[in-house]
Symmetry: C2
Subunit: 276 residues, 2 copies
């Protein structure tokens, strides 16, 4: 099978690496606007071949879209002439706008998915072989995908050892806002507030594991997250408001020296260890 990966960053590059395990089953073609990414992907052996011809990509059996979510919507307008058996899989982090923007004549060609994995790094050099291994792959609005495309996608996801979860796109976007998108906004705000108040020397000297893990995802790609925040704006604002309410409560309990209540509030947060 020919697999065409459009977008050779962390997600696309890692998929290419994961598919190396099946050299007879999959031939991987890579496509990226950025010539540096093209060279890096070849040098790092993330893909078997680079193409700069979108028509060559469209002739693949499976097309993977690992590009920012706005670009997924834009490029899909060019896919009206793909073959009936082509399977297009997008890895966007927000799903409702993507799911509803795919032109209806080719909607059944798409399997719209969100891998719940990643790192703060980006570009081809960030790719790692086991990024998807034993991680959740959320597949959204599967009833809109063709039966054949569903089988192709599931087989591919099994090959990269992903754990499959099915969910409606609308439901996904609400959950993702709370569990992924808002925490990214929080991390960016944390990094901003600390860098504005503290000099680099103090940050380096004093940062323990807590600050490092809290600020890690503030290093994530602004282009990618700008698009996600735009596409999931309403859910995101709702989740930010819910977070701000808790932060405000914490602040008030400290200001008013209500230490017992603060202790109880922290103990409730502790319950997270029963889940994760």
């Amino acid at each position: 099978m020919n697999i065409g990966i459009i977008g050779l960053g962390l997600m696309g590059g890692s998929l290419g690496l994961a598919l190396k395990k099946y050299p007879k089953k999959y031939t991987v073609l890579g496509y990226d606007h950025n010539p540096i990414h093209q060279n890096d992907a070849l040098e790092l052996k993330l893909v078997d071949k680079i193409s700069s011809d979108l028509n060559e990509m469209k002739a693949c059996d499976i097309i993977i879209l690992t590009i920012p979510v706005d670009a997924i919507i834009a490029i899909s307008q060019d896919f009206l002439d793909i073959s009936k058996n082509c399977t297009v899989i997008d890895f966007g982090s927000s799903k409702e706008k993507i799911s509803s923007s795919i032109p209806s004549p080719i909607r059944q060609n798409y399997v719209t998915a969100h891998p719940m994995t990643g790192t703060e790094k980006f570009g081809p050099s960030a790719a790692i072989e086991d990024l998807y291994s034993h991680k959740t792959m959320v597949i959204c609005d599967i009833e809109k995908s063709g039966e054949y495309q569903k089988e192709v996608a599931l087989a591919l996801f099994r090959d990269i050892d992903a754990k499959i979860v099915f969910m409606g796109a609308k439901e996904h976007d609400r959950h993702a806002a709370f569990i992924s998108h808002m925490p990214h906004a929080v991390s960016y705000a944390l990094a901003q507030s600390v860098m504005k108040q503290e000099d680099p020397k103090s940050i380096l000297a004093l940062a323990g594991g807590g600050f490092k893990s809290m600020s890690r995802i503030a290093k994530s790609s602004p282009k990618m997250w700008e698009d996600i925040f735009r596409q999931n704006k309403n859910n995101l604002l709702e989740s930010i408001t819910a977070f701000n309410t808790e932060m405000q409560l914490c602040q008030t309990l400290i200001e008013e020296e209500k230490w017992e209540e603060l202790h109880q509030w922290m103990s409730q947060a502790n319950q997270l260890h029963k889940i994760l």
Copy 2:
């Protein structure tokens, strides 16, 4: 040398483990109010011996205080009769109140330090041998410590491979509020807001590395953090206000769809990767 560790949780237990490398140099005596901790510490071989006699602890060459910061201040009132050559080292996360509360006749016996390391786990079973290895140890107000005590503490810190940084207690508390204490408040608020809105099944299914690292320290000990928040109240409130200002800015930029400014704000946060 006899070392008496008072408080056999993550910090005290890990110090005991780290000192195992020097069986001829250090004999480690452990003390803890909690009988379960006493048994666990012995079974896990964190200490050579358990004592329930505070006078026996006070007779040690070095006393380590790895208990919550309020308890450090309280127990120091009982130390007025320690010997002239005794060295007391506390590992509290807030330093100004501790530094100024030590009774003046024994102030020179103290070296007041803050190891910039830890995990979200607590209790003797959380102890790990290399917790202090290559991590920063901030020593505060060293000019108030005796020359002999300073040498004893530095030798001990060298033996556990800590990196030494000297700082005034007042300056420490301001930095620590931004780089450690406020991020803990943020993590507790994040865990609270997500658990109130999301069911455990969705959290487990959808939590990627981002949420896991952002919420990890929300599992930290409420008793320990209640005390730190109380002792460092003013700096903490200032840092929470600075964080809230950034969070508010992020929210406004999304509400008003100022995507370019949002992108720029995230790019600025990205600069953190140049430091950490």
